[in-house]
């Protein structure tokens, strides 16, 4: 039987609602798991055992009195440490914020709490979201639960690792050039980068404004739907927030995928590690047996993604850190500092060329979506590398390798759902991403749920400890 700490929120909710499982017992199991595993994984910067235990007790009392709030009531949630949380230290993984106690909570977290979710801690991350490895010089590097000698992916490294190790039921992340999907891929969980503006980024420490997205990570597509249900919605405090209707993401998840047209750009077949390529091809064959029509696509504009992604992210991040970089340069880790400094050396013309290329890419994707419903590719071309001694060089190298696969969805603002596709012979997960039209999250989650039913990971994650 699966350990309670590894059940999904969707599986736990009916047990909690019908009083077969106490929120106190669930919390106890997850906190014990953190106590046992986190000394070797280092997914958390801050744990909140006392307040989480107290809130679990309150949830139990409420449920016993017939005041069940809904599917998140009593569910343990880890929050990436760049989401501001009132009265709880929020570091962004940075020395600059090591003592920052916010006076507000990011609205997306507020909504999870209002629905009964319980914050169990703040999750480790690459400094200021500027990395793909999960390394952090101040709070220590997060390890991959599948093999602790390997990185978990980043920047939301703690978010993916906590889920893979059963140290949270749900987690939040942010994604600027893949920071939800890269750790989801490397740690064998599900991660969504939603449509730009669907989830407010107000109250979240920025990385690069025009590419930043908030989003959920979880151990199932249905749990991603559940989190999105509460995190999505208009926020007048976020200039980019969309005034779009929020559908019921949790309904009709089992609709199936028969007849859906999926396009695979040739771009996404280049530069793959052989075993990632093998698993991806196997996944495509499986999708075909499920009734999906596969079409090969050529989107030449994708070749400009690396230029646009680097120039825009480094330029905007440099602007967001310009004065602190002048006055407190030593407070930044070397990899972050190098990225920011490179941003100060790119020209305004290069930045605008990157934004022109971005327009071309948007148009190219719109054209592709006239032919297909979904665009598919590996989330990243590699499995989690072993943690290297030269962490700064490695972070820049892994970013250079993964950004071209992940950033097109950030540049175009389209939603992208990363799902596991199995384990390579090194015992590490690989993943693919489904990308859809703007605001097509419901369809992506239905596809994700159908894919999940194929049980892409062949053994339980709780065998990893």
């Amino acid at each position: 039987m699966t350990d309670i700490a590894f059940l999904t929120a969707t599986e736990l909710a009916p047990l909690l609602q019908t009083k077969q499982l106490s929120p106190v017992e669930l919390m106890k199991q997850v906190l014990e798991r953190i106590e046992k595993m986190d000394p070797s994984i280092n997914a958390y910067i801050t744990t909140l055992n006392e307040s989480a235990g107290k809130q679990a007790q309150e949830a139990e009392t409420a449920i016993m009195q017939g005041e069940y709030k809904g599917l998140l009531h009593g569910i343990p949630i880890g929050i990436k440490d760049n989401y501001q949380t009132k009265g709880i230290r929020t570091t962004g993984g940075s020395k600059l914020f090591r003592d920052f106690i916010p006076e507000q909570t990011a609205p997306s977290v507020d909504k999870l709490q209002a629905a009964g979710g319980i914050i169990i801690g703040k999750l480790n991350m690459n400094e200021l979201g500027a990395g793909s490895t999960g390394t952090n010089q101040l709070f220590g590097t997060t390890k991959n639960p599948w093999n602790t000698e390997h990185m978990p992916g980043g920047s939301s490294g703690g978010s993916g690792a906590a889920l893979a190790a059963g140290m949270a039921t749900l987690t939040t992340g942010t994604d600027t050039w893949g920071s939800n999907r890269i750790p989801a891929a490397m740690s064998g969980v599900y991660g969504l980068k939603p449509t730009y503006g669907l989830i407010s980024t107000y109250g979240i420490l920025p990385t690069a404004w025009s590419l930043d997205h908030a989003g959920p990570l979880a151990r199932s597509a249905s749990d991603i739907a559940l989190m999105l249900q509460y995190m999505a919605g208009y926020d007048p405090n976020d200039p980019a927030s969309l005034k779009a209707a929020v559908p019921d993401y949790t309904a009709d998840l089992n609709k199936g995928i028969n007849g859906i047209k999926i396009g695979i750009p040739t771009y996404y077949r280049e530069g793959l590690e052989p075993e990632v390529e093998k698993l991806f091809n196997k996944a495509v064959s499986t999708l075909q047996t499920m009734g999906v029509e596969i079409k090969e696509l050529v989107i030449p504009e994708l070749s400009m993604s690396t230029f646009s992604g680097f120039v825009i992210s480094a330029g905007e991040a440099a602007a967001a850190n310009y004065e602190p970089l002048q006055m407190q340069s030593a407070a930044y880790a070397q990899d972050t500092r190098a990225l920011l400094l490179s941003g100060t050396l790119t020209s305004a013309t290069q930045y605008m060329k990157a934004q022109q290329a971005r327009r071309k890419l948007v148009k190219a994707f719109q054209k592709a979506f006239d032919e297909v419903d979904i665009i598919l590719g590996p989330t990243i071309p590699i499995t989690a590398p072993a943690i290297g001694k030269n962490w700064a060089e490695q972070n820049l190298g892994v970013t250079a390798r993964c950004l071209p696969f992940a950033v097109p969805a950030n540049l175009t603002g389209i939603p992208s759902l990363s799902v596991p596709i199995g384990l390579c012979s090194n015992g590490l997960p690989a993943a693919m991403q489904f990308m859809g039209r703007h605001l097509s999250e419901k369809q992506l989650l239905q596809i994700g749920a159908a894919w999940e039913s194929t049980k892409p990971l062949s053994y339980m994650m709780d065998e990893t400890d």
């Binding site: 980019a240 340069s329 050396l345 934004q355």
Partner: protein, 63 residues
């Protein structure tokens, strides 16, 4: 590739303290950008595109 001396000078002009060991990494990222920029030559009509820009709602409200 931008020379180390040029990088150092441009950073100092902007008031950034320069750690010599940063220069190599910064140079590496700029090399990636320069290499990636060659992809733009496949799109000679790129100059015609209106760039994606952040249009702040406060600006719109004041128009």
């Amino acid at each position: 590739m931008m020379e180390e001396k040029s990088i150092k000078k441009l950073l100092e002009l902007q008031g950034f303290p320069v750690d010599e060991t940063d220069i190599l990494y910064t140079q590496g990222i700029l090399a990636i950008v320069k290499q990636a920029q060659t992809s733009l030559t496949d799109f000679p009509d790129l100059y015609k595109e209106k760039p994606i820009i952040v249009v702040d709602k406060e600006v719109l409200a004041n128009d």
